[in-house]
Assembly symmetry: C2
Homo-oligomer: 450 residues x 2
C-alpha cells in the first residue's frame, strides 16, 4: 500500500536489468501489488519493461499489463513471443484477456489463442472477442458463479466451491433454470443465512437486474450507477446467461467518459495525457486552435465591415474584447450545464419551460453586467450616453443569445444522436465570439446611426 | 429495470396523493426499486414527496431518500417528525444514516437519535458523525463481517451467518486478533474452497490494504481505483478495525469530483444542476462573468492606451479578437491537461523537461497558426508586410506564454495546496485575454515603431 516509486528504486532496478540479474529482480518484487508493478513498467523504456515482464511471475505481470497505458502495453506485447503472451493471458479473466487479444494483429491472435493452456478459457476468449468493445458483450467476463434452481443450499455450497476457483471475486450467485436461462439471484448473505437443507428455488430472489448483450456501455454504466449494482448479468435474446459485468470495469468506463468530456470542453479532441508525445498532443490540440483562428478571421471581417465608422466612434472598438469574452463565457457555462444534465440524465421538463428559465437567468446576469459596464464605460472611458447605451444593450442581447445557443445546441445535437459534448469548448466559444461581435456592431449601428 | 417515468404515471400519482389514497399508492409501488422511487420523489413537489415517503414502507423510502438531491432531501426531512426520520434511519447503513443526521440541526439530531430502535445502530451513528465528511472516517460504514484468527472455517461460517444479517453486501471478511486489530483478510472464495476444519490463521491472507481513519477521501478514491478494490477497511492509529468503505460510495465520490472539475473549467463555481433554481444558478454563474467583464474593461484600457496609433494602423485592431481567442483557447487546453494529470496522478517527470516539452508544443502550434494568419491577413485584409509580421509574431508569442501560464499556474497552485481546477476556465481565459492583447500591441509597437 505504502509503495512510492523513488528515483533510487528505479535506478537500482535499471542496473539489475542491464546486468540481467533475473533472480535478484524477482526477489526485489516479492509481495508487490500489480498496480505498483504497472507504475514501474510505465517508468521504464520498452525493452527494460519487456525484460521485467519476462523476469516476473505471470500472475503478477498479467494484471500489471492490464493497468498500463494502451501504448505502453502495445510496445511490450510486440516484444513478446506468442507463447509468452499466452502465459500472461492464462492468468487473466476472460474479459481482460479478450481485450488484450483484440490489440494483437490477426496472425498473432491465432498463434496466441492456440497456445493457451486451458481449452475452456480459450473458447471463452474466442467467444468474447466477437462483441463490440463498447457494448455489454465487450465489457462482460465469462467468469461467474451460477447455480440451478433445483439444488439445495448444501449442494449449492459444494458446487460453488468448485466454480469459485475460477472466479476472482464472488459478487452474486446467479440462479438459472435447467437450460441455463437466468431466473434470479441469490446473495451470499442469503445463502449463508439460509438453512442447509433449503432448496434454492425457495430462497432465491426471482427479480434480477440484467442487461442485453448488445446494450451500449454508457447505458450499462447508467443502470449500474442508478441501481447501485456491483455486478450485472448479461443475457441474450432468449434470456440465456452469457456473462457478467463488474463495477470495477464500469469505474474505469465512467472515469474515461468524464475525462473525455472534460477534454472536449477544453478543446482537446482525443484522449491524451500530459505525458503523451508532442506529436500526439499537437494532433489533439491544433484543430481546435484552427477553429478559434478562423473565428478570429471572421471577427476581423466583421470589424472591417464596420471600419468606416471607426473614425467617428473609436471608443466602440475598445469594448470588442469585453463583448467577445462575455459571449464565450456565457456560452460555455450554459452548454456545460446542459451537457452534464444530459450525461447524468437529470435534464427534465419540457423545452418551453427550459427556454423561459434560461431567458430569465440570462436577463438577470445580462442586466447585472450591463449596468456595471454602463457605469464603468461612461466614467473611465468617457463614452457618450448613446455609446454606453449601445455597449450595455449589446451585453444584454449577447448574453441572452449566447445562453440560448449554449443551451439548445447540445440538446439538438443529442436529439440527433451526436455527442453533445462537442458543443462545448472552442466550438461554442468561437461561434459565440463571432456572433457576439456582429450583434454588437449591429446594435451600435442602429442606435448611433452610422 | 425497465421503469421509465411517464407523465401519465406522475399525473395519476399526484391525483392519488391529492385524494390521500394511501393504500392505492402503496399498491402502485409494489416491487419498485428505490432508485425509481427517488426519480419520482424529485419530480413531485415537497409536500407530495413527503406524503409519498409517509405512505410507503421505510425499507424502500430510506434508500430512495439517499438517492435524491441534497436540497430535495432537506425539504422532505424538514416536513417529517423526529420519529418519522428515525424510522428511515433504522433501515439505512450507518454511513448513510450518519450523512442524513449531519444534515439536521443539532436539536433534531438529538431527538432523532433518541428515537432510533437499535441502540448499537445509534451508537455507531453517533461515532460516525464525529468524523470529517471528506475523510475515510466520514465515508466508512460500521457494517462489516469480521472473524477472529483463532476460529475454524466451520465456526467462521456460523458466526458469519449471524453477522451477515446486518450487512447489505459481503465484500471481504476481515480477520482480527483477539483485541480487534486488523490482521488480514479472507476472501469468500477462500472460505468456500477451504476444508471445513481448517483454522482461519492457516488460510487467511495476512496482507490487506487499509486506510487510516483520517485519510482524505480523494486519496481513498485513488487507492481503491489504483488497486481495483471493492472495499477497504479503515483503521485507527493502533491498527484497530473501525469500519469499511465500499466502492459504490467511491463511485459517487469520483463522479462528484469529475463534475466539480468540469463545472470549474466551464466557469460555474458551485455544484449546480440544470434544474436548480434561477437564484442558485445565477449565484454560481455571475461571479465568473464578472471576472470576464473586468478582464474586458482591462482590455479596453490597454487598447485605449494604444489608441493614438489607431489612425495610422487601423488594421491592427481587426485582429484583437483573433489574438484574444487564441490566447484563451491555448490557456484552457494547457491547464486542462495539467489539471487532469494532477487529478489522476499521471503527471511525471521534472519541471525542466515539462517546460521544454510545452515550449516545443506551443512553438509547433504557434508557428502553424501564425503562418496561416500571415497569409490570410495579408491577402484578405491587405495588411502591410510589417503589420502581418506583427500579427503573426504576436500569435507565436501569445501561444507560447498562454501555454506556459496554463501549464505552470495549476502546478504552482497544487504545490501550494490550492485546488488546481480553479486555474481552468474563465480565470485563465480572462488573464490570458488581457495579457495576450497587451503583448500584441507591445510587439506591434516595437515592429511598427509607434
Amino acid at each position: 500500500m505504502a509503495f512510492q516509486l523513488s528515483t533510487e528504486f528505479l535506478e537500482d532496478l535499471e542496473q539489475l536489468i542491464a546486468q540481467k540479474k533475473r533472480k535478484a529482480i524477482r526477489k526485489r518484487f516479492e509481495g508487490f501489488h500489480f498496480a505498483d508493478v504497472a507504475e514501474i513498467l510505465e517508468a521504464l523504456d520498452s525493452d527494460q519493461a519487456t525484460y521485467l515482464i519476462k523476469s516476473l511471475q505471470s500472475d503478477l505481470t498479467s494484471e500489471a499489463l492490464m493497468e498500463v497505458d494502451e501504448d505502453v502495453r502495445e510496445k511490450i506485447l510486440s516484444r513478446l513471443s506468442p507463447i509468452e503472451i499466452a502465459r500472461e493471458l492464462d492468468e487473466l479473466d476472460t474479459d481482460d484477456a479478450a481485450d488484450v487479444v483484440l490489440e494483437l494483429d490477426a496472425e498473432t491472435q491465432r498463434k496466441v489463442i492456440d497456445r493457451l493452456e486451458d481449452d475452456d478459457h480459450a473458447a471463452d476468449i474466442i467467444d468474447l472477442i466477437k462483441y463490440d468493445e463498447d457494448t455489454a458483450g465487450g465489457l462482460m467476463a465469462k467468469e461467474l458463479v451460477k447455480v440451478k434452481e433445483t439444488w439445495t443450499t448444501a449442494g449449492c455450497l459444494r458446487e460453488m466451491r468448485r466454480q469459485a476457483k475460477n472466479v476472482t471475486r464472488v459478487h452474486s450467485i446467479y440462479v438459472v433454470d435447467k437450460e441455463g436461462r437466468l431466473k434470479g439471484r441469490l446473495s451470499l448473505k442469503d445463502l449463508l443465512t439460509a438453512p442447509e437443507k433449503a432448496r434454492i428455488s425457495d430462497i432465491y430472489i426471482p427479480k434480477v437486474d440484467s442487461v442485453h448483450v448488445k446494450t451500449e456501455g454508457e447505458e450499462v454504466a447508467r443502470i449500474m450507477q442508478k441501481y447501485d449494482l456491483e455486478a450485472i448479468p448479461v443475457i441474450d435474446d432468449h434470456g440465456f446467461l452469457l456473462g457478467r459485468i463488474t463495477i470495477d470495469d464500469i469505474v474505469d468506463f465512467i472515469r474515461d467518459e468524464a475525462e473525455k468530456d472534460y477534454q472536449m470542453a477544453a478543446g482537446i479532441s482525443s484522449d491524451v495525457e500530459a505525458d503523451d508525445s508532442v506529436g500526439k498532443l499537437t494532433k489533439a490540440r491544433l484543430p481546435w486552435l484552427l477553429i478559434g483562428m478562423f473565428g478570429g478571421i471572421g471577427a476581423a471581417s466583421i470589424i472591417s465591415g464596420f471600419s468606416a465608422s471607426l473614425l467617428e466612434w473609436p471608443r466602440l472598438f475598445l469594448f470588442v474584447p469585453l463583448i467577445q469574452a462575455t459571449a464565450g463565457n456565457v456560452g460555455v457555462q450554459s452548454s456545460a450545464i446542459v451537457v452534464q444534465g444530459l450525461a447524468n440524465d437529470s435534464l427534465k421538463g419540457n423545452m418551453i419551460s427550459r427556454l423561459l428559465k434560461e431567458t430569465l437567468l440570462a436577463l438577470i446576469n445580462g442586466l447585472s453586467i450591463a449596468l456595471l459596464v454602463l457605469v464603468l464605460s461612461h466614467f473611465f472611458f468617457e463614452t457618450s450616453y448613446l455609446e454606453s447605451l449601445s455597449i450595455s444593450l449589446a451585453v444584454v442581447v449577447v448574453i441572452l443569445i449566447a445562453a440560448l445557443v449554449g443551451t439548445f445546441v447540445p440538446i439538438l445535437l443529442d436529439k440527433n444522436g451526436v455527442d453533445p459534448a462537442v458543443a462545448t469548448g472552442p466550438f461554442i466559444t468561437t461561434s459565440n465570439d463571432v456572433f457576439g461581435i456582429l450583434i454588437y456592431f449591429l446594435i451600435a449601428q442602429a442606435i448611433l446611426g452610422f
